[in-house]
C-alpha cells in the first residue's frame, strides 16, 4: 500500500536524487564560470538600469515637471509603477508563507527565487514614493521623529504614512524571512566552497550555522512564526496600498472593493512574474529536475484562479457604479471603457481576464513557451490596470473645466525601464551567488533515505 501511496503522488523532484546530488546540482552552476548567456543578460539589464539612473538624476535635479504630470493629473507613471512593483512583490511571501502554512511542499523548489523576487520588487517599488515627491531630500519627514519644530509629528491619518510603515515593514520582514531560509544553504556553500572569497563571505553570512539539531528545532519554529506573521502582513500591505485610493474622494477611487481587489490582483501579477522568472531561471541554471512541469502547472492554476477573482472585481466595479446611482461614479466607468483611454482599459481586460483562460487547457499549461508568453501578457495587463485606475479617475473628475489628458515624457518611460533594469540585474546576480533552490528544504522533501511508511504520508 505504501507503494500505491507513492505511485498515487508523483515525486516533487524528478530523477530520484540523493541529497549529495541535490547539493551538487544547485551549487555546481554557481561555482562554474558564468555562461555567455548570463553575461549578455546582465549587460542588457544593467545598461537599462543605467538609463533609469540617469533619468532619475535628471528628474531630481530639474524638477518633477520633467514628468508628464499636470495640475489635474498629479500621479500617473510614478504611482502606477509603485503599485505594480509592490504587486509583483506579493507572490514571494505568498508562496513562502501562505503555501508553507498550507503544507504545499512543492513550494520548496520555487520559494527561494520567489522570495528574492519579492525583495527586489519591493526595492523597485520603494524608489517611487521617494522620487515622486517634489522635494525628495525631505522625504524623511514622513517618519515621526522628535525634532526642533516643537516636535511636529506626522499625520497618521494619511494613507501615505500608512504606506511608509507598510512598505518598510514588508521589506524588513521578507528580507529576514529570506535570510533565515538561506542560512543552512549558506553553511553548505561555506563548507564546500573552494574559492577563498566565497568561503570567507559565506562564513561571515552563515553566522556559524552548524546544522546542530538544537538550532534546527528553533529554526523550524522561527520559520513557522515568520510564515504566520508574513501571511497577514502581505495582505495588509496591499490593502493599505489600495487605501491610497479608496480613502480619497475621487469617483473610481473611493470604493470599498479595493482592498480584496488589489490583493487578488497583486497575487495574480506576482504569480505571473514568478512563472516568468522560474522559466528563465530553470533554463539559465539547468534546474529542469527541480522546477518541473508540475510546478509550472500548479502555478498556472493559481494564475487562473486569481484571474477569475480579478475579472469578478472588474465586473463588480461596474455594478456598484450602476447601483450607486451617482452619475459621477457611472461616468468614470463609462469613461474608462469608452473614453480617451479605452485602449488601455481593454488591454487590461484582455490580458488579465481573457488571455489567462487559455490555462484551462492542460496542453497550454504544460507548454512552457505558451505559459511564458501568457505570464508576460498578464504582467502587461496588470500594469495597465493600475495605470487606468489612477489616470482615468484623475484626468476626468467632478468639474469638467478641470479635465485634462496625460501623456508620459521620455524621462518617465526611462525611469520605468530603469526599474526593470534594476530588478533583473539583481535577479541575475542572485542566480549567480545564491542557491536558486532552497537546498535544505528540497532535501527534506526527497524520498531518499526515508523509511517507507513516512514518505507515504507527506
Amino acid at each position: 500500500m505504501a507503494e500505491a501511496a507513492i505511485a498515487l503522488r508523483p515525486p516533487l523532484i524528478d530523477g530520484d536524487k540523493t541529497i549529495t546530488e541535490v547539493t551538487h546540482d544547485v551549487c555546481a552552476p554557481m561555482e562554474a564560470r558564468p555562461t555567455a548567456l548570463w553575461w549578455s543578460a546582465l549587460f542588457v539589464s544593467s545598461s537599462l538600469l543605467l538609463v533609469g539612473a540617469i533619468a532619475i538624476v535628471y528628474q531630481i535635479s530639474v524638477g518633477v515637471g520633467t514628468w508628464g504630470l499636470n495640475r489635474t493629473v498629479g500621479w500617473a507613471f510614478d504611482i502606477t509603477n509603485f503599485v505594480f512593483w509592490i504587486g509583483i512583490g506579493h507572490a514571494g511571501t505568498l508562496i513562502s508563507a501562505i503555501l508553507f502554512l498550507f503544507r504545499q511542499r512543492w513550494r520548496t523548489s520555487v520559494n527561494r527565487a520567489a522570495e528574492a523576487m519579492t525583495i527586489f520588487a519591493v526595492m523597485c517599488a520603494g524608489i517611487f514614493p521617494v522620487i515622486h515627491t517634489g522635494r525628495p531630500w525631505f522625504a524623511y519627514w514622513m517618519f515621526p521623529y522628535p525634532n526642533t519644530r516643537g516636535s511636529l509629528w506626522v499625520n497618521f491619518r494619511s494613507p501615505l504614512v500608512w504606506d511608509f510603515f507598510a512598505i518598510s515593514t514588508y521589506l524588513t520582514v521578507s528580507a529576514m524571512f529570506w535570510f533565515i531560509g538561506l542560512l543552512p544553504d549558506l553553511a553548505t556553500i561555506r563548507d564546500r566552497a573552494t574559492a577563498k572569497w566565497r568561503r570567507k563571505l559565506a562564513g561571515v553570512l552563515s553566522l556559524g550555522w552548524t546544522g546542530s539539531y538544537r538550532a534546527w528545532q528553533r529554526y523550524e519554529v522561527v520559520y513557522l512564526m515568520l510564515a504566520g506573521l508574513g501571511t497577514p502582513l502581505v495582505i495588509s500591505v496591499h490593502t493599505i496600498v489600495s487605501w491610497d485610493f479608496a480613502t480619497a474622494v475621487l469617483p473610481g477611487w473611493h470604493a470599498t472593493i479595493f482592498p480584496p481587489y488589489f490583493v487578488a490582483s497583486a497575487i495574480f501579477s506576482g504569480m505571473a512574474m514568478v512563472l516568468t522568472l522560474m522559466i528563465i531561471a530553470r533554463k539559465l541554471m539547468h534546474l529542469e529536475d527541480y522546477i518541473t512541469i508540475r510546478h509550472i502547472e500548479r502555478m498556472s492554476k493559481l494564475v487562473i484562479t486569481t484571474s477569475g477573482i480579478v475579472g469578478l472585481a472588474y465586473a463588480t466595479e461596474f455594478f456598484t457604479a450602476l447601483y450607486s446611482g451617482s452619475s459621477y461614479e457611472q461616468f468614470v466607468f463609462l469613461n474608462r471603457a469608452l473614453g480617451p483611454l479605452f485602449w488601455g482599459y481593454w488591454t487590461m481586460v484582455g490580458c488579465n481576464v481573457f488571455v489567462p483562460q487559455l490555462l484551462w487547457f492542460r496542453k497550454v499549461r504544460t507548454c512552457v513557451p505558451a505559459v511564458f508568453v501568457i505570464s508576460i501578457l498578464v504582467n502587461v495587463g496588470m500594469w495597465f490596470e493600475r495605470f487606468i485606475i489612477i489616470v482615468t479617475s484623475l484626468s476626468r473628475d467632478f468639474i469638467p473645466a478641470n479635465w485634462f489628458h496625460y501623456a508620459p515624457t521620455r524621462i518617465e518611460v526611462a525611469t520605468l525601464v530603469g526599474t526593470f533594469g534594476l530588478f533583473f540585474t539583481l535577479f541575475l546576480l542572485f542566480c549567480r551567488f545564491v542557491p536558486v533552490i532552497a537546498v535544505a528544504e528540497v532535501k527534506g522533501v526527497l524520498k531518499y533515505g526515508k523509511p517507507r511508511m513516512e514518505s507515504a504520508h507527506e
Partner: protein, 250 residues
Amino acid sequence: MTTKRPNSTRLHQYLSSRFLTLVLVVALAFSLLILVPKFNAYAVPGNQRGYEPAQPIAFSHRLHAGELQVQCLYCHSGAEKSRHAGIPAANVCMNCHRFVSAPLGAIRAEDELAKKEKREPQRVVSPEIQKLYDALALDDKMQPDPSKQLRPIAWTKVHNLPDFVYFDHRPHVNAGVRCQKCHGPVETMERVRQVEDLSMGWCVNCHRGVNRTGLDGNGNFTSAPAPAAEGPTPVTHRVYASIDCSTCHY
C-alpha cells in the same frame, strides 16, 4: 610560490586596513576636536544660538540700555507699530549724540587739561561716535558737509529668521512680552548676542506656555493695555497665543 600569492594579497589587505584604522582614528580625534565645541554651540545645524557678530560701530547695549536706562522702544520704536522692531535711523542717535560726542570722563579730563594750559577746551570726539558723524557727513561744527557723502551704516543682523517665517513684533510687545524674553539680557551685553535658539519649537512652546499659565507663567492672562492704540480706548483682554501654522507661515 603558487600558494603564497593569495596569502600575500590577504596580507596587504590586513596591513592596509590596520594602517587605515590608524589614519581614521587620528582623523576622528582631530575632527572631534573641531566638532565638539560647535556641537554644544548649536545642537542642530541652522541653530544660531551664541551668534555674536562684530558691528560696524562698537555700540554698547550695556551702556545705553543698562547704565543709561534708555528704553528699548526709544530706539527700536518699530516694535510696537510694525512687524520689524527696526534698527534706529542715524537721526535717532543724533537726538543725544548731537550733544554727547564722547564719554563724560574724557570730556572732563580735556576741561581739566585746558584749564591748566589756559586755553579753550577743544572738542573731544570718541572714534566710535565719529563713525556716526561720518555716516551723516557732518563736519566738526555738526553741520552737513557737502564735500563728504552720506554713508548708511551697515549693521550686521544678529537675530535672523528664515524667509518663510513671518514673525511680528506688534502682538508681542503690545501684549506686554518683555524684550528680554526672546533677546536675553541685552542691557548687560557689550555686543549683542543671540541667546535663544529661535527654533520653531522654542516659539511654539512659549505660545503653549502662555495659553496654559499666562504671560509671566503665573496665571496672568490679561495683557498690558496696548500703547499703540488708535481709535477706541484699548480694553485689557485675555492673552491668547495661537499656534496655527498661518500665524507665522504664509
